[in-house]
């Protein structure tokens, strides 16, 4: 007991040196704790995103192959409905979102932008019959209500309901006004590109639309790509309507876990999915989200390792200096009969007292500074990763169809001070201080006191 009290007094007796030691320790601990907390937080975030977006699988046409093969028989690159059906039953899946877009024409309906933009340009793909240039798009979704635009409030139902049965549809308010539509009305459409294939849809709802067109404003955009001309129906209806038309389909399947991707792809190929379709996780979104956080994780880890190494070095040097300065004192207490282990215990106590005080102060500081530092680093990481985003813009023509390419990079990372990080770093610090003081102690206590005392005199 007296050893501990004496150690406590010694900490105060050597206050000058101990304050220096404490400042260095404090810097190391604060730095490491901050880094570790940011590191573990970002690791946790990566895992969350992995689970969320890594689990979402798309089946999209391989765009490079589509262009090469556009001259071929279109059936070859269209996934069979049976493939989708077979996949929907897969044991790997939690669910599926399928979509199908059919560029369409109508004798009775106008598309927004049809009058202002160049329209009615006759084209003859595949050497077939001349048809009108499409002025509207029939878009079918497995779950129309689950479209991000509806969920995020860019679109919203203002009248009626979502399509439930086959051959029901909803259209935008602008489209309704242009064509003077009302609920329950049957609209007549035809497939735009290849052959005459009429479709009758019952209008069951209208929605407001705040989404922006890719090219030009909502009113001015050419009819064929004007999102106000979307006629939203269920997947089955659109798919039947499309039949043999070369079109863009997307299929998003939700895996029970990301590791099941390859099992799932094998099932898809076995079910007859052509290699003209890619089975992928949404990599760009994944990278956009995970890369900045990953960057932060590794920055902080490197920082921590450097700091810790430096810290240990400095603490060890200080400990060695301190021990040398106190060699005589140790000789005296040994001469008075204090045992080696008691001397060692006293010195370890001193180190521990300083370290524990530093830890307590450090944790307090960390509580205050970690969040601002994390925010700062994240902003920097996001700006580093920014240019990569543009690459995803190329397929924007069909952006409206991609059910949800919405994995946003985090603009905020809520740092949680996890006890594990605190406990870990505390233990590491205590251990390091313990070891560095033991090294000095081992040196000093191996001598008989006579040596220490006569050396001084």
């Amino acid at each position: 007991m007296y050893i501990f009290i004496n150690s406590l007094k010694n900490v105060i007796r050597n206050i000058g040196r101990n304050i220096l030691l404490a400042i260095i320790l404090l810097a190391v601990i604060v730095g490491c704790l901050t880094a570790l907390i940011i590191h573990t937080t970002s690791k946790g975030l990566i895992e969350d995103y992995m689970a969320l977006f890594g689990a979402k699988v798309y089946i999209n046409p391989n765009s490079s192959k589509v262009s090469v093969m556009s001259g071929r028989q279109s059936e070859q690159i269209i996934p069979l409905p049976e493939v989708y059906a077979a996949l929907a039953d897969s044991d790997c899946l939690m669910g599926a979102d399928l979509s199908c877009q059919v560029p369409s024409v109508s004798d009775t309906l106008l598309g927004l932008g049809e009058l202002s933009g160049g329209t009615a340009v006759p084209i003859a793909p595949n050497g077939g019959a001349f048809t009108k240039f499409p002025t509207m798009n029939v878009k079918g979704y497995t779950n129309p209500e689950q479209l991000d635009d509806f969920i995020e409030g860019y679109r919203g139902l203002i009248e009626g309901r979502f399509p439930v049965k086959d051959n029901e549809c909803i259209v935008s308010e602008d489209f309704k006004q242009l064509n003077n539509l009302h609920l329950g009305e049957i609209i007549e459409l035809a497939q735009g590109m290849v052959e005459h294939n009429p479709l009758s849809l019952e209008v069951v709802g209208f929605y407001f639309d705040l989404t922006q067109n890719q090219f030009g404003s909502a009113v001015d955009a050419p009819a064929a790509i004007n999102v106000r001309n979307d006629i939203i129906t269920n997947y089955h209806t659109a798919f039947d309507f499309a039949k043999s038309d070369p079109r863009v389909d997307t299929a998003a399947y939700y895996l029970k876990s990301p590791e099941l991707l390859y099992v799932f792809e094998a099932e898809a190929r076995a079910a007859g999915l052509s290699y003209d379709y890619l089975v992928t996780i949404d990599e760009s979104a994944y990278l956009r989200v995970v890369e900045p956080i990953k960057g932060m994780g590794s920055i902080t880890l490197t920082f921590m390792i450097i700091l810790l190494t430096l810290g240990v070095l400095i603490v060890a040097i200080l400990a060695a200096v301190a021990i040398r300065e106190r060699k005589f004192e140790i000789g005296v207490v040994r001469a008075m009969g204090m045992k080696k282990h008691q001397v060692a215990l006293g010195l370890v106590f001193e180190s521990l007292i300083i370290t524990i005080i530093c830890l307590a102060v450090a944790i307090g500081i960390v509580l205050i500074i970690t969040q601002p530092i994390s925010d700062m680093l994240l902003v920097k990481q996001l700006s580093i990763n920014e240019p990569q985003d543009t690459s995803t813009g190329t397929s924007m023509m069909y952006a409206g169809m991609q059910t949800s390419l919405t994995a946003q990079p985090p603009d905020e990372m809520q740092v949680v001070i996890n006890m594990q990080a605190v406990v870990m770093i505390s233990l590491v610090c205590l251990l390091l201080v313990f070891i560095s003081s033991l090294v000095g102690i081992a040196q000093i206590t191996k001598y008989e006191p006579i040596k220490i005392l006569t050396e001084r005199n």
């Binding site: 007094k9 040994r334 001469a335 008075m336 009969g337 008989e448 006579i450």
Partner: protein, 224 residues
Amino acid sequence: MSLLKLNNVVYRYEGGKKNVLKGVNVVFESSLIYTIIGKSGSGKSTLLSLIAALDVATKGQITYLGTDMRELDRDNYRARNIGVVFQSYNLINNYTAIENVVLSMNISGSDIKNKKQYAYELLETIGIDFETANRKVVKLSGGEQQRVGIARALSHNPDIVIADEPTGNLDSETEDEILAYFDILAHKENKCVIIATHSDKITNIGDKVYRINDGRLSEGKTKR
């Protein structure tokens, strides 16, 4: 049984070229003052260090109550059985006088309840007042440090008290006081007191006087 017995003790410092003690034979008993006189460098401090068990003899034997020092728990022996007044005081400089004394008591495992009180009283009897006792050792004069060293040596009530040139830094009045105190220790409190000195004046208080010359001890003239 004799208290301490040195039998043909030879000592050479670690890394030293020659033996500093060259076969010392001597016996120490309770209730007597022993003085050891010799020139500077003759080996007085070395001999006392071995008696204080700060190291063991290179050759030969030192026994305390019949037990070889090599087998003894020398830490315990230093803490409880012997009190040492060092030539160079060997106090801890950034401790106060009282802290030095109390630390020694703590190390010895003394069962005195109020150690601080006891230490103040001890310092008082040896001429260190309360105010001085609370000063750091660095702020004490040589004479004051010497007194604190004596108080520390006595604080755990040892059987043997050794003093290495204890009066070297003291004026003659103080020297007399201190020597009188050693006299009481040996003859009233039955301690074995061993004093090393190079001054003839001190040899006068010795019940037994030894001369040391180049590491060899010989019995000198005894006054009484």
